[in-house]
Point group: C2
Chain length 261, copies 2
């Protein structure tokens, strides 16, 4: 990869940013397609996000921005327009600057996550799903899992109101799916997903009680660093199938590059 | 070069930015030293420079910023502190963020330019020099040429007041050198330097009348793109020694990396 004066810039906005794993995968995909685009992660605090997005949107060679934790909600609020799941949920993980300068936000975490599950042989259609979290990443996953036709979606979240608000949005769009919130027992589900940042930092609580996991359950992560989170390690020790956070990125890179390039 | 979450960011601020040639040379030097740093050029308009620098200074993984045309004067004004030639001239081409968050600006164009001349066998000490331009780049060159002990420095500029202001600053620091401004005949000099952006864009006027160049004169450029500017082509046709803009960067990359790394 050679960066020149003609290279277009795609910042990845994150805080912190040491754990991000998108840049090498994104840059390799651009190189494979012959696109002269470079992604560099930028560690931007929540307080600085509005001023940073405002400065970035005026950069002549900006192609777009990729957004990750904790900015997925607030970046959506800074966009001029949202499409698809981003519009429904008010979260985005990628922003494109259109020819007329306006910023369009989209959300591919969910689509990437579902594609990752399928790629690893874990078909979500018709399954009973427990999702932990109702923030930016989890909302995208919930929408894509509902689109994929899961039988049942249970959303559990530290703040129950936020889970119920997400559930309301989804019930309106997917009336045929049983969507519930509150406290759930992991043993009642085929697929248990951590959609929070728990597991990224040492000393984080586990998102679910691993003693309630049963062998054969698929336990999946959105956290990419560490590669095997404490939840995945505990799940593996209990005979569950584990599905890493990195698979979500591997499958959505194509969608992100399509969107900004 | 692989960009990861641990990579530090060095934007190169320019407008336009397609012509810049620093990024591949800078990134290669970082790679050679084992530094995990990536430079990406950002096309920032003069109006957006203050807001952009303010946003960039808060980015957690920023190592520093490299500054080029037309931002060398205004970036210096945005620094909290200037060192060396940058302090004397009020221009900078590199900014470092210190541990306490303040921005320190420095100017290595001149030092790099003189090192480039020497590297190519064109010793400036004791020579008669005609410099076209009195802006950010030219000021740095003038200071370094005076430091190197040229015999005579003639500064010619579209706006004569700006040339005279630069000459005044230099006379105070280098009283032993003959420093003049106004209109000059290129034939009276050993070394003729374009320190303006003339030659970067098609249709630009030539910085000096090529019919007044005499064989054996060294004609040098700060413009890097095109590699051989119309001035250099005309000078070569008249039997002058030509010295390309790229040599200034080749020799100062080491100084820039030392400063920000």
């Amino acid at each position: 990869m050679t960066i020149t004066g003609a290279t277009r810039f795609v910042p990845l906005l994150a805080h912190p940013c040491r754990h991000v794993r998108t840049p090498p995968v994104f840059n390799a995909e651009c190189a494979r397609r012959g696109l002269d685009i470079a992604m560099v992660p930028l560690d931007v605090t929540p307080e600085m996000l509005p001023a940073t997005v405002e400065a970035l949107r005026h950069i002549g060679n900006l192609a777009g921005m990729v957004i990750t934790i904790p900015h997925k909600n607030s970046a959506a609020a800074l966009c001029d327009r949202l499409t698809g799941a981003a519009r429904l949920l008010g979260v985005c993980n990628v922003v494109r600057r259109e020819a007329d300068g306006i910023l369009t936000g989209a959300m591919f975490d969910g689509e990437g996550f579902v594609a990752g599950l399928r790629d690893r042989g874990h078909e979500p259609t018709g399954r009973r799903v427990l999702l932990v979290g109702a923030g930016g990443a989890a909302s995208g996953l919930a929408h894509a899992l509902a689109s994929a036709g899961v039988a049942k979606l249970f959303i559990t979240n530290r703040s129950p109101d936020k889970a119920e608000q997400l559930a309301e949005q989804l019930r309106a769009a997917f009336p045929q799916i049983e969507i519930r919130t509150g406290k759930a027992d992991p043993k009642d589900f085929d697929l248990v997903i951590n959609g929070t940042s728990l597991g990224m930092h040492e000393g984080d609580a586990l998102p679910v009680d691993p003693d309630r996991l049963t062998p054969g359950t698929v336990v999946a992560e959105v956290v990419m660093q560490p590669d095997v989170t404490p939840l995945l390690a505990a799940a593996e020790a209990r005979g569950c199938h584990i599905h890493k956070g990195i698979h979500m990125i591997e499958q959505q890179i194509r969608l992100l590059v399509d969107f900004v390039a």
